[in-house]
Symmetry: C2
Subunit: 184 residues, 2 copies
DNA sequence: TATCCGATGATAATTATTATCATCTGATAG
DNA sequence: CTATCAGATGATAATAATTATCATCGGATA
């Protein structure tokens, strides 16, 4: 198992590619293409630092000084909903604590934020040798499995919003029940 | 690679075990053993839902109605610091967005919250078959690698607090530089 | 070009968390 | 057993992030 840091050249090309498709994707999702949306996705794609809403807002305001922070929040949420962006973690709402110190991972319901512990035999040994990232001293790792719990699936889940971390394992814009391996 | 949901019987036994050691661990860390701390770790170990501070506070108040929410926050933070608890994710402070839809994972500096994309060849295919959790429809997954970035390591990193997710890969209470495989 | 629904900006409200500070208490020494 | 003191706690204020509200505006379609 080999770990590679994503490099910047490739990222820039990817950003251009995505921008070229953006208007079409909005239309496909039934959303008007507004200058704010365009500016926000552009700022996101140009950023290398997985920005917060405020940081994107600052960047966007360099060209469009009138843009409201609320719009940035709303738009980023929208982009996640239509699969044009993701959150690094679904669990940013509030700190969730865990008293279990044994090695384990988490299944998270993206609607109600229910969390369950799972152990994945073999994963940690497989990763053990691979984890190294230039510029960082690794301390540990943990896997977040995004899911919808049965309650939310049945009930339509009134509680919580979906606000999606697409998740690595998922083919973008594919909302199947079965998770996707999705290697390039 | 096989995924198992952590079961409740085992958890209960584990909780008793941890409670038996708790006072000693506080002393070892140079911390006074207070009834609040004891009640809070107990509530955390008894919970199955990876609770938020407020939920722990509510539970604790059933026996100690005077306990302050601020104390619960502080204590949970302390417990993380001494390695008696962890957070499910390090990134709960604020939503961090990502425009990169290609499958990838994240290295996160636990001090300054810097994030970098990494790809891990083989991981997603290896997981693809294994990811299933009773009661959940999986959508995707992503690995969060906890680390300290070089800037923070050198500088002593004045920015941000450490507030630890121990991370699965790490042997509890071991602060080595090299990450640990840490399978049971 | 007119119409309309959704988007936006400004701002208030809410929620989670952290800071402040006076008071209290567990741990240690005597 | 009591005095002492550093650190813990409770009450509350302050901050930070996010969401809600609502009047107005502007893309998209006819």
């Amino acid at each position: 198992m080999r770990l590679t840091v994503v490099n910047d050249n490739r990222r820039a090309a990817y950003a251009r590619e995505r921008m070229a498709e953006f208007a079409a994707r909005c239309r496909a999702a039934g959303l008007p293409v507004t200058p704010q949306r365009t500016a926000i996705i552009e700022a996101l794609l140009d950023a290398t630092d997985h920005p917060r809403a405020e940081s994107i807002c600052a960047e966007v305001r360099r060209r469009h000084p009138h843009v409201s922070l609320a719009t940035v929040h709303r738009t980023l949420e929208t982009l996640c909903r239509i699969g044009e962006a993701r959150k690094v973690t679904t669990l940013h709402d509030s700190a969730r604590y865990d008293g279990n110190l044994r090695p384990h991972h988490h299944v998270v319901c993206v609607r109600c934020r229910r969390i369950r512990d799972v152990e994945i035999a073999g994963l940690d040994t497989a990763l053990g040798g691979a984890i190294r990232a230039p510029g960082f001293k690794p301390l540990g790792w943990s896997l977040e499995i995004q899911a919808v719990c049965d309650d939310c699936a049945n009930f339509g889940g009134r509680e919580g919003r979906s606000s999606g971390t697409g998740g690595v394992g998922r083919t973008p814009r594919n909302s199947n029940q079965t998770p996707q391996g999705a290697n390039e």
